[in-house]
């Protein structure tokens, strides 16, 4: 494999990691607020809190990692996307800021009850951020960013009038809720909290239909938006078929209330197949017709340095992540504990 492919694969893997952990996080924020507002009380909220508190910071790093890596491997991406995304990018920063800060304020700051305002902020941003971030995928299909007289320009009217944009946003929204509900069902089952499990299982089933419908819609909208990409996707049709199969297994398992661990594994595979099939067929473009992984790649020295740093970094990162999961996700005592104890 050449450096270009290694680079983009590394980034794509991290973006996939972000999609999974962030979806859990974003959806959890929404469910948490929804259940408290609806009067399910703290039934679901406690489960969510126990999972989220030790990991919320880590989620953010996945995104930053992807972004820094993108600039490192493809410095031109900073130029095109950076100029074009000034306003929406800044809005995402604000949403991420509000979300991160008020989560911490609620979890570590107030010693007593949950602050409803903080939780509402947390829930609402959890829905808005994935919608905003997903628009970058729509932009990457080309036609939105143009260069005229050496100046990068964005055609927002063209962007918002485009059904593909909306199909991607819709897909992002429903998959966040689906992934999150699936994971939390698994987590609730593991903790032996039957009440929470039943509610979360219902959420998971409710959101599974829209997820697959939105995926199909987005799939066909790509054909209208970027036929070349669509033809590429058909070449990897088996990946999308595998994704659909995993989806069926996952839904069946959650329906039958069995093997929730495998069930979530299937959800991850479902998204992995779709994500890597989509990504593979998008190549060689990072931004259609403008940023090409072969033509806009960084210099070789930097590429080698980055890949080396990445390898060394993984040696530290993987054991740390494993430790984190062993201590909190898969530690029976912690998972069953009445509440997350903080210092």
């Amino acid at each position: 494999m050449n450096y270009e492919l290694i680079g983009i694969t590394v980034l794509w893997v991290f973006l996939f990691g972000y999609i999974i952990v962030a979806s859990i996080d974003f959806g959890a924020g929404f469910f948490s607020f929804y259940s408290v507002a609806l009067g399910h009380g703290n039934l679901v909220h406690n489960i969510i809190q126990r999972y989220l508190s030790p990991v919320w910071e880590v989620t953010n790093v996945f995104l930053i990692f992807f972004y820094i890596g993108l600039i490192g491997f493809f410095p031109d991406a900073a130029y095109y996307y950076g100029t074009a995304l000034l306003v929406p990018g800044s809005l995402v920063i604000v949403l991420l800021a509000v979300r991160g800060v008020y989560y911490a304020f609620n979890t570590y700051g107030s010693s007593k009850e949950n602050n409803k305002v903080y939780m509402a902020l947390y829930g609402a941003t959890g829905i808005l951020i994935p919608a905003a971030l997903s628009t970058v995928l729509a932009i990457s299909e080309g036609g939105v960013i143009t260069v005229r007289h050496g100046k990068v320009e964005v055609s927002w009217s063209h962007f918002f009038a485009n059904p593909y944009t909306w199909s991607v946003i819709l897909l992002a929204l429903v998959s966040v809720l689906y992934i999150s509900a699936m994971f939390l069902s698994y987590y609730a089952k593991m903790s032996g909290d039957q009440g929470a499990f039943e509610i979360l299982r219902r959420y998971a089933l409710v959101w599974s239909g829209p997820t697959i419908a939105a995926a199909l819609l987005a799939f066909f909208e790509i054909n209208r938006q970027n036929p070349e990409h669509f033809r590429g996707m058909l070449e990897y049709a088996w990946m999308f078929a595998a994704s659909f199969l995993c989806f069926l297994i996952a839904v069946y398992l959650v329906w039958s209330r069995r093997h929730l661990g495998w069930c979530f594994m299937m959800v991850m595979l479902q998204f992995a197949f779709a994500w890597f099939g989509y990504g593979r067929s998008h190549l060689p473009y990072v931004l259609y017709k403008q940023i090409n992984i072969y033509e806009n790649f960084t210099n070789d020295t930097m590429a080698i340095a980055l890949i080396t740093a990445f390898g060394l970094g993984l040696i530290v990162l993987i054991p740390s992540l494993v430790l984190l999961m062993r201590l909190f996700l898969f530690d029976a005592k912690y998972v069953r504990g009445s509440s997350a104890k903080k210092g």
């Binding site: 880590v58 900073a78 800021a97 800060v101 911490a104 700051g109 100046k151 960084t298």
Partner: protein, 447 residues
């Protein structure tokens, strides 16, 4: 709107984000070190007071980390959003430290989460303490890596520029440039000083409000000795930084010191105003001091500002930032020293009121010193974004929307900082230290 507007607004917005981020980033770098010190003392001396101290600091620390993460994300993304042309070039040369910074941040984030939730989980307290080591290393390492990026902007090297294209890139040379050692050292020790000062101020505040328990005295002692050590180290590294500037970035030192003609036996000016024809009035003039600062000898020739073309000179206002930083740095050494010498003051009380007030001021003083220091170093490299290679105006975005975003971010930071202060003060008011100590001692009574 002129085409220059986005440049000025982008500079303002970047400055604003960094202004806020620097506070929380410094806290993020220094506080883990202080927590580790306290927890270590607690284990070594088998003194639960120190452990409680570490616990209480850690509780507040998470809140500041949250704001640090958020503002750090802001500045990270804003680099590309506001300075796309610069990042296109910089990405070729310094992607490596940026990349490594995220790894360091990753490790810090993971272990901080673990540390906070495992106070009572391990039988050995040392295991819990050891979790703080990756946190402290991670935060200091990310400060190190990100500062090398800034050092690169001040002293670009490790590449060859041919027809506007960077070639022959040597990433490690770019990272470990001439400015890196002094800059990284100065950033780290000043952050440690700031944090020790802030935490000392909290203890002094409790004592001023009439708390007499030995817990607060222990907190004061630990933080004041630390502040003194770190502040002295900061001053020493600051001296090296001055020598670095004299040698490699003389226009910054010259502008900071209002030193116009190149000559030996140069005078250091403190304060004052510039009159017509750039003569200094009202300033405190110390003969030979600038030459000594620049090269340890009054004979050292110091390059003056007149040797540089007018459009490559930094603004002369940075003189005041420099003076503020140095003067406050002096106070940061002096106040902890007075604390340590208080026993020798004849007839004085053990904890005189004026001294406690002075200690309470340490945090704010260090805060102003850090901000002034960054203003000096950043404004002092204008008009360059990459000294000698790229002017700031060439790196900025061309978008016309920056003004709107300035308003948005001013509101965001204002609200976030305000609620952070509120949450922190509520946190400590709701969980009174005395009650926790009582609970501890009751536990200690019964074997």
């Amino acid at each position: 709107m002129t085409s220059l507007d986005p440049v000025l607004l982008s500079r303002f917005l970047t400055g604003l984000t960094l202004f806020v981020h620097i506070i929380f980033a410094s806290l993020g770098v220094g506080i883990p070190v202080m927590i580790a010190l306290a927890e270590w003392r607690g284990i070594r001396a088998n003194d639960p007071h120190y452990t409680l101290l570490a616990r209480r600091w850690a509780r507040g620390f998470v809140i500041t980390v949250a704001v640090g993460v958020v503002t750090g994300t802001s500045i990270g993304l804003q680099l590309s959003l506001l300075w796309p042309s610069f990042m296109r070039v910089a990405g070729q040369a310094i992607a490596l430290p940026l990349f490594m910074e995220t790894f360091a941040f990753f490790v810090e984030a993971i272990f901080l989460g673990i540390y906070l939730y495992t106070w009572d989980r391990f039988r050995s307290k040392l295991v819990h303490l050891s979790l703080l080591i990756p946190v402290a290393i991670g935060s200091s390492a990310s400060a190190l890596f990100i500062t090398t990026v800034n050092a690169f902007m001040n002293a670009p090297q490790g590449f060859t520029l041919a027809d506007g294209v960077l070639t022959d890139i040597r990433p490690l040379e770019a990272m470990f440039n001439k400015a890196t050692p002094t800059k990284v050292a100065h950033v780290l020790v000043s952050a440690y000083t700031f944090c020790a000062g802030v935490l000392g101020g909290i203890a002094a505040y409790s004592m001023l409000r009439g708390q007499k328990h030995v817990y607060f005295k222990k907190a004061l002692k630990l933080t004041m000795v630390s502040t003194f050590v770190f502040a002295v180290a900061t001053a020493m590294v600051g001296d090296f930084s001055g020598k670095y500037l004299a040698k490699y970035q003389p226009e910054k030192l010259a502008a900071g010191e209002w030193h116009f003609d190149t000559r030996p036996y140069a005078t250091l000016v403190f304060g004052g105003v510039l009159g017509k024809d750039n003569e200094v009035r009202y300033g405190l003039k110390i003969p030979y001091a600038l030459s000594i600062l620049a090269g340890n000898s009054p004979r050292t020739e110091v390059v003056g500002l007149n040797d540089f073309p007018e459009d490559e000179r930094p603004p002369l206002s940075i003189h005041y930032y420099f003076d503020a930083m140095v003067a406050l740095g002096g106070l940061l050494v002096l106040i902890p020293l007075l604390y340590m010498l208080r026993g020798w003051v004849p007839g004085g009380k053990a904890y005189p009121r004026w001294l406690l007030i002075g200690i309470m001021a340490l945090g704010p003083l260090a805060f102003v010193a850090i901000e002034a220091g960054w203003m000096f170093t950043e404004v002092g490299r204008q008009p360059w974004i990459l000294r000698g290679y790229m002017k700031t105006a060439e790196g900025a975005t061309t978008s016309g929307h920056v003004g709107l975003l300035v308003v948005l971010f001013v509101i965001l930071y204002f609200v976030v900082c305000l609620s952070c202060i509120r949450v922190l003060s509520k946190l400590f008011r709701n969980q009174d230290a005395m009650e926790e100590i009582k609970a501890l001692e009751m536990k200690g009574d019964r074997p």
